[in-house]
Amino acid sequence: MRKQVDIEQTMAIIDKIKKDLYHREDLVIRPITVNDQTVYFIYLTNTVELKSEDLQVFFIRLLVEKKRAKETGLLQACLQLGPSEKQQTPHDYLNTILNHQLLVVYDEAVRVNIGKNFHRAIGEVKTQEVVRGPREAFTESVVVNQAMLRERLKNKQLMFQSLTLGTETGTDVKVVYLAGVCKKEHLDDVLKRLKEAQIAAVLESHYLETLLETKVKTVFPTVYNTERPDVIAAGLLEGRIAVIVDGTPFVLLVPCLLFDFIQSSEDYYQRSDIASAIRMLRVLSLFIALLTPAVFIALTLFHQEVIPTALLVSLAAQREGIPFPALLEVLLMEITFELLREAGVRLPSAVGSAVSIVGALVLGQAAVEAGIVSNAMVIIVSITAISNFVFPSYDLAISIRLLRFVFILLASLFGLVGITLGLVLLVHHLTTLDSIGVSYLTGIAPYDETAHADLWVRKRLDKRQHLFTIRHVFKRDKVRKGV
């Protein structure tokens, strides 16, 4: 017969849970009695489905184990339902229930992971599309994401370290790395930053991004994020550390360099010469996006002598009758464009096309014909906008957009001199940045030969000493196995 103590213990657990979750009307406490033995199944409504045949097997096993008087009887019985583990503390009980799992209480409490998965299926990549390369993207589920990484790296050194962050949200976070490849100090730094943070809520990976960013105030992204599993897998191979956050398909990757944001995973899925040419093009587009309006302002306002005579005459002819100063003209057009772009992103796709029609009309012919802006200015803004879309990374594109306005202002004050000084300061600013201790411009400054080799051009894969040479920087010393 069952001891009185055991029954009391069971009731104590039930009471405890009831007390903690008394206000939750979705809490289900389902006692099932077989042969005078009452087992409590506790879960939230609609999260767990208990089938009667499963329960039969469960009870048969429980009674069998009971007769053998084994201590692990409940756990053995629960294993008939699904993957199970013993829970010790009241905190664990709560956690089980709130994590949409089943808690079975009978003398002791056992967690059974048969909660329903509410996440969507694996979909296609939306943000960093490629012509050639894998199409599947991470999902919102940390479990699925973990499985996707495992699929790509069938490596015994692949380590996952689980954390629960967010005092209010209790979000699952997994720190992923390849032991033996990633630098220990990087890993320690990441774990320290994540663990020490007093963060209330983690709803998206950006909440953690702020913890991992450089301490210097900057507009540049110092944490890479992507929804492409292949990019993360490549990063792990280079000795970087990924952070998967439950509830978002965007996985973080640190440390990262400036050049990561202008390189695309597709660079490695194409012939090296073509990939190199495209990489050059991206570097060019970086400067075009950053400087075109500023240089235009500087040349037309300060250094007209630089412009070839025929072009100058043509520009001057276009400006006849334009009421605004050139600076205002540029700002007007740039801001109009930014408005349109932002509107296009937020609008439902059905209305989006309407915005683009209006935009084409406003930005295009109408403004010119009304004599508000000159033709040249429309071209400048268009070139800038197109170049801005060339970057594979959205984060850098935003930074460049912001800086563009700074450069326009500098150009309107000091012409080319202002732009030059601005660039020097920008480079200096970049050198002061770091991503968990790795200098943001590693490869150029401080110079690193192996990293430099894969910076501007992408070498042929068989001609390189390491799989990913640029990233070789990160794996200098080995991490102890199993850290």
Binding site: P308, V417, L421, V424, L425, S439, P446, Y447
Partner: protein, 347 residues
Amino acid sequence: MKLTERQFKCLLYFSFLGSKVLYFPKLTIHYLDQNGWIGILLAGVLASVLIFIIPKQLFQLSAAGPIIRLLIYVVVVIFTLLLFILEVIILSQFITLHYLMGTPTRVMLIVMLVVVLLLSRYKLEHVGRTAEVLQFLPTLSVIIIFLMAFMHLDFQTLMPLYLNEPMNLIKGSGVFFFIVFADGFVTLRLGEYLNDTSRVRTLYLQTLLKVLLIYLTVTVITLMFLGAALTKISTYPFFHMLMNIHWFRIIERIETIFSLFIIVTSVIKLTVFLFLICHSHGFKHTERFQHISRFIVLLGLFYLSDYFLKPPIVIYPWLYDTGALIFLVLTLVLLLVYQLARVKYKK
């Protein structure tokens, strides 16, 4: 944090160049007429020899006593102050003359100093990294200029003149050895920031040769384009020379674009000098104190530069004659002090 060898070289490189490229051909003409380019070679040989005479221990002075350190600091500061003021005045004057006509020189002065302040916000290492990123600028510009100029070059103008007076040549290259490489002697103190000082001399020599090549190219092109007489009368012969290079009518006035690298080198050079003025005494201070000291020094430098900035600035005769003498004396004093330090160090 310490500088890497590469960063050290870059900082040296920028310190050697600065805005001197602008008026360097004029200096060669002033002393050596058309033989300037031979003079540069001679000066280069002289400088290389001197590097190997300088005692090795100089680059690591932390072991020396406080008095020696203070003495060296004083000499370096006087030296650096002079060069700093000269550099910033010439730079801001050049900009207001050729880029932003109508902007008061004083405004440009303030802008330059603010930029230098911003660049010196962190450590010298970051300035070194900046120099490392931008080091391709002067080299690339000069190479492009050379390629563009190549089809117009007339080597006849380089024929050595007056070679029957070798004394003149030696005298000339001697004087301008001090003018050209004075900045380099100040930056010797950068050795302190290196991890391993054993290769300082080699690094120094490598940079020196690179700088020599740049100066040689610039001088040769300028002399060929402008001729001795015109080089002598123009304020910034390098800039003037660039005005005459056309390239298939695509780039109409390359001088405006191609002399921008001078602003970059100058600004970095000024930042290095500021670090030298503020921190080459070798005593440790808190970071906050360092920030404030740099700010105060810059403020002082602004007033000093502003004091010398009286239009019209006839800076060159002063630079050529008295300036060269001052550099000469100061360099000798510096060497002497270095030697003293060495004796002390040995004990």
